[in-house]
Symmetry: C2
Subunit: 252 residues, 2 copies
């Protein structure tokens, strides 16, 4: 059930990349929820990175956010991607509404979170404070391990999850309707195809149902409109899913 909020949502995230903010953007878009992507507004309109840094460093939130994305809902300041989705799932019917279904969706989202974190570490295995160029050798090792071991394990897991959810008829990971988990898996697939085109081409052969889910999500009217709009930032080498050909070639 959609609840209308007095003010539009305010999303605070790095304006030049998809990153973890993209999982929130996709949920807001699918819900048709009015939102302002604050840091993408001009600084003259109280936007820009300054707006994000201000909220991070000097904002009054209790508890303070540790990192973006951050969603402001009237007085509420919610951080941590999966936590924001938990909230949006509940308020915009983007997840089952019963307790078991909510926990199931959230459990899957936290596994997506783990996967995303592992993807990040393929290019930053030593330190986020160093450039990729300063940890290239280690990145290649970590990417090899990711492509050969972790990626098949995650894809196999989500494929099995899809098969095991009879209510979803092979289209929805949890329950009998699309949820934020489906949107997030779609985003992961887009990201993997961008970052590791070679490795993903091989790996996806074992995930036929997930590939269909990806197509279904891409064709949802609001998602299709979003992807075609300027609101969708293209993938680039500032985000989590980065295309470094030498890492894509790392797998055996």
């Amino acid at each position: 059930m959609s609840e209308s909020s007095a003010a539009p949502y305010e999303l605070y995230y790095w304006p030049m990349l998809q990153g973890r903010g993209e999982f929130v953007r996709l949920a807001l878009e699918e819900a048709g929820a009015p939102y302002v992507d604050v840091a993408r507004l001009p600084e003259g309109e109280a936007g820009g990175v300054q707006a994000l840094l201000g909220l991070l460093r000097e904002g009054p939130a209790v508890p303070p956010p540790f990192a973006p994305p951050i969603l402001k809902v009237d007085e509420l300041v919610i951080a941590q991607t999966a936590n924001i989705l938990l909230y949006l799932g509940r308020h915009h019917a983007l997840a089952p509404q019963d307790e078991a279904g909510q926990l199931a969706a959230h459990q899957l989202q936290l596994t997506v979170t783990d996967l995303v974190s592992e993807v990040h570490d393929t290019h930053h295995p030593i330190s986020s404070a160093l450039y990729y160029e300063d940890q290239k050798l280690e990145a290649k090792q970590r990417a090899t391990s990711f492509i050969d071991q972790r990626l098949p394990r995650y894809l196999g897991y989500f494929e099995r999850t899809l098969e095991r959810n009879p209510a979803g008829e092979g289209r929805y990971l949890v329950g009998s309707q699309r949820s934020y988990v489906d949107l997030s898996l779609f985003q992961v697939f887009e990201g993997l195809a961008y970052a590791f085109p070679r490795a993903f081409e091989r790996a996806k052969a074992d995930a036929p149902c997930l590939l269909e889910l990806r197509e279904h999500v891409a064709r949802r009217p609001r998602i299709a409109a979003y992807l075609a709009s300027e609101r969708r930032i293209p993938f680039n080498e500032l985000g989590i899913f980065r295309h470094y050909p030498e890492l894509d070639a790392a797998g055996s």
Copy 2:
């Protein structure tokens, strides 16, 4: 509000280490909730690692769990540490009961999750499938970055969070009572003190309120009883918090 369940909770986790299961154990202990630590039962009593692997590989859960810890509550099979705590927080008054408070607690727990994952990667920066000995050099680099940059950042963040929560009177991270977040922070501190005694000794000078919180938690009657019992597995080099002196010495 404590709800009594027909059957005791069943926790499924690796029997020889604290790991991520410990955050769940501490919550169950503090709640006084009856539970069976299934894999620590003898195999003859349907316990042992086999019981865990059986649930992971052949269990009927929808969705299936990706990894332990897993909590069985009657028909419900909940995975992902923070998700389990979300459930226990709600059913055993281990977190605020209003929506804003639940989200706040969960947000903090997900930041603990991130911290714990970074601690794990100090000894396994390249691959979980390799031995520590096979990634020692990279581990030293990653541990240096963790100790010098990430650890102070996390401690500063949680210290600030404690200061900013007037209802907690410096003792509780969220709300006006102890929550699963306080228990988890306690566990993180115990783990850091075990794994990085030198580095932690230096870092903790900037977190005086957190140190008090750690003491408060350790003195809670049920926690104190648990820590003194055989149910508490000692820290060891199979878990997340591992003491490798060369990594502790890595920071500048």
